[in-house]
Assembly symmetry: C2
Homo-oligomer: 365 residues x 2
DNA sequence: CTGAAAGCGCTTACAG
DNA sequence: CTGAAAGCGCTTACAG
C-alpha cells in the first residue's frame, strides 16, 4: 500500500501550513473561507483521513469507549448492537474488554485505565461486586453500568423497571382468575430479583391479596425438588412467575417431564424474552426487556458525560429511577453522577400463561 | 484523579534517562541488570503503566485489531468470546466496528483503515460481497474472514466443514432407515448452503442413492407452500435436512400447526445448534458449529499474521481446507495469504430425527 | 550499557 | 486569518 499521507503532505499540496490544515480538519472558525475550501478540496482529492492515534495523543482525548463484557448471554448481542448504533457517528470507537474467565475484573479495569487508552467505560458486570467501579466513578471516571443486577448503586446505570415488569405479569395472571401465584427466584442474592419480587407483591396487595411467604420459592439447583414442594402444598399455586427466562424454560422442561400441562396445570410467566424463534410449542409469556434500547441509552449517557455537546437521540431522563427525581431537581448541574435510568418493559403474552392466542401487549411506562 | 505518571517521572525517580526506562519497558537486552532492577522497582512502586496511545504512535504498531460485525445473531456472542479469549494476553485490543444497518460496509472499512487505528481486521460479513476485503487483503492488509458464507474466497478465512456436517446428518438419517431425504435451502445463493447440499448428496451416493432433484427444496419465504409441495408428492420424503437451525425451527412450528408429528411423520435435522436452552419439546437434532473455536482460531490466525512470534494455542493447520493442502507444501513461506481453515462439526442428536433419547455424538474430523 | 536528540502525526497557544 | 514552535508520551538510531 502507498505511504500514508500526513497532514504535512496536505499542507504542501494546498500551499499552507500544517496548522491551517489542522484548523480545517477541526472545523476551527479562524480560517479564511477561500483557504478552507482549497484545503478541503485537497483533502477530498487525496482521500486524506488524519491518523487517529496521533490525534488522540495530541489532544489528550482518546475518543475510545471501553466496553467491559461478562460471559455473554445471547441477549448481549442486542445490547452490543444498541451501543454500536449509538456510537456509530459520534467519532468514538468501542474497544472490547472481556471480563469473563477467571481473571479478576478489577485488575482488568485497572490496567485498562492505567494504559490511558479509553476515556470512558461501559460496564456490564453481573456476578462480581462492582465496588471497584463505584470508587473509580466517584473519583471522576466516566462510567455507566449496563443492565446491572445490583441496582442499588450510586453510580450511573441503565436498567429496566424490574418491579413494573413483574407487577404487569402478576396483574395479568390475576386478571385471568389466578389467586395463588408463586414467585421463583433464580438465585437469592441479586437485587434485581428482589425488585421483581417486590413488583409481584405490590400487584398482589393492590388486588387485596397478602403475599404468602410459602409462595416465594428459590431455585437451589434442583428445580425438581422445588416442583415437588409445590405438589406437596395443601393449597398449591396455579400460576408461577419465574425470575428469568432461562430458568423458566428449564421449569417448562421439567414440568413436561412430570406430565404437567401448561397452562392448564400451571400458568407460567418468565422475564427477559430470550429465544424469540421458538414461539410454537414452548410459547412462554414473558416480560420483555428492551435490550437494544438499554445499550443505546447507556452509550448515549456515556457520550454525554464525555462530551457535553452530545445530543442524545431521545429524552431518556423521563425514565429516571424514582429515587433520583427529587435530587435531580435540586442539583441539576450534577445530573450525571447520580443518573439512573429504568427503561419500561413490556409483557409479551404467548400461551404459557393461559391467555389464549389473542395478541396482547402492555407496558410499564 | 492524580496526574498520570509518564516515562519521564519514572526516569527521574530511578535516576536514569527516558531511553533507559523505555528499554526496560520493552525488554531490551542492552540494560545493565542492576539498572533494570532499579527501574523495575520504581515502575512497580508507582504502578506505572505506559500510555498506550503514545506507544502506538511512536512505534507505528497500533496493537489494535478491528472486528467488523454484521447484524448479530445469537451465536455471535460465542464467536466474540472466542476472539476475546485469544486476544486477552496478546497485548492487542479489540475494537468493534458494526457494519450493520444501511451503511455501506466498504466505506466503513475504508475509513477504519485510513484512520490507521487498527493493524488488522477480523471480518464477519455475510450478506454483502466481500470483494473489497479481498482487494485489500491482496494489497497486504492482514485480514481474516470469520465463518463467512462465501467460502470460495482467496483470502484467509475460518469456517466449518459444511459438507462434512450434512454428510454426517444424512448418514445418520440413512442409518435410521430413511430412504427419501429432502434438503431445504434457506436461500439459494450462498455458497455455504451449496456445500451443505453437496455433503448431503455425497452421503446419499455413498449409500447408493442418487440425489433426487425434486427433493432439493428452496425457502422462498413461504414455508407453508414448501410443505404443501412435499405433501403433494407421489413419493414424499420421510426426513428433512434444513440448511440452518433458524429455518428448521420455523419448519417445526409450521409442521406442528399442520398437525404433523415429529419425528414420526417427518424426521428433521438442522444446522448450527443455536438456542441450547430448549431441549425439552422442540428437541432439534442438528449439526453443531464450534463457534467459540471459530472465533479463537480466527483471532489466533490474525495475531500470527501481525506478529510472527505469536504462538497459537493449537495446531489449527490440521484443519486446512483440502484445496489448500497441496499449495501449502509448495509455498510454505506464504502459508498465510492462502490459509483457509475448516473446523470439524459435530452431530448433536436429540429427538427430532427419531433416534430416541440415547445420547450420541459424532464428528467430522 | 547509557543518554541526548530526533521523530511518530497531530494540536494549540503565541506572535504577527 | 496564518505560520513557526512547542508539546502530547513514547521509541530508536546515534554517539559515547
Amino acid at each position: 500500500m502507498a505511504r500514508k499521507l500526513t497532514i504535512r503532505d496536505i499542507a504542501h499540496l494546498a500551499g499552507v501550513s500544517k496548522s491551517t490544515v489542522s484548523r480545517v480538519l477541526n472545523d476551527s472558525i479562524n480560517v479564511d473561507p477561500i483557504t478552507r475550501e482549497r484545503v478541503q478540496r485537497v483533502i477530498a482529492e487525496q482521500d486524506f483521513v488524519p491518523d487517529q492515534t496521533a490525534m488522540r495523543l495530541a489532544n489528550g482525548d482518546h475518543r475510545l469507549i471501553g466496553m467491559l463484557l461478562p460471559t455473554l448471554w445471547s441477549f448481549m448481542t442486542e445490547i452490543i448492537q444498541g451501543v454500536a448504533g449509538a456510537v456509530q457517528d459520534s467519532g468514538y470507537e468501542i474497544i472490547l474488554y472481556s471480563s469473563s474467565g477467571l481473571k479478576d475484573y478489577c485488575s482488568v479495569i485497572d490496567r485498562v485505565l492505567a494504559a490511558n487508552l479509553t476515556s470512558g467505560l461501559l460496564a456490564s458486570i453481573h456476578t462480581h461486586s462492582p465496588q471497584h467501579l463505584v470508587t473509580l466513578s466517584r473519583r471522576g471516571l466516566p462510567v455507566v453500568m449496563i443492565n446491572t443486577t445490583a441496582v442499588r448503586l450510586d453510580i450511573p446505570w441503565v436498567s429496566v423497571d424490574n418491579a413494573g415488569g413483574t407487577r404487569l405479569a402478576t396483574r395479568h395472571l390475576l386478571s385471568l382468575g389466578h389467586k395463588r401465584i408463586a414467585f421463583l427466584f433464580p438465585c437469592p442474592d441479586l437485587p434485581c430479583f428482589h425488585d421483581r419480587y417486590d413488583g409481584y407483591c405490590q400487584a398482589l396487595r393492590e388486588a387485596g391479596i397478602g403475599p404468602d411467604p410459602m409462595l416465594a420459592l428459590y431455585d437451589d439447583g434442583s428445580i425438581v425438588k422445588c416442583l415437588h414442594e409445590i405438589q406437596a402444598m395443601t393449597d398449591p399455586p396455579t400460576a408461577l412467575i419465574v425470575g428469568n427466562d432461562y430458568l423458566a424454560y428449564s421449569v417448562l422442561i421439567e414440568l413436561e417431564k412430570l406430565g404437567w400441562r401448561i397452562p392448564e396445570d400451571m400458568a407460567i410467566i418468565g422475564f427477559d424474552d430470550i429465544v424469540p424463534p421458538l414461539q410454537g410449542r414452548f410459547a412462554l409469556t414473558t416480560v420483555r426487556q428492551p435490550f437494544h434500547e438499554i445499550g443505546q441509552c447507556a452509550a448515549e449517557m456515556l457520550l454525554s458525560m464525555l462530551d457535553p455537546r452530545f445530543v442524545p437521540s431521545r429524552n431518556w431522563w423521563e425514565f429516571s429511577a424514582p429515587q433520583d427525581t427529587d435530587q435531580r431537581t435540586r442539583a441539576n448541574e450534577h445530573v450525571w453522577p447520580s443518573c439512573h435510568i429504568q427503561l419500561p418493559v413490556t409483557l409479551t403474552v404467548r400461551s404459557s400463561c393461559g391467555a389464549g392466542l389473542q395478541p396482547l401487549c402492555q407496558n410499564t411506562s
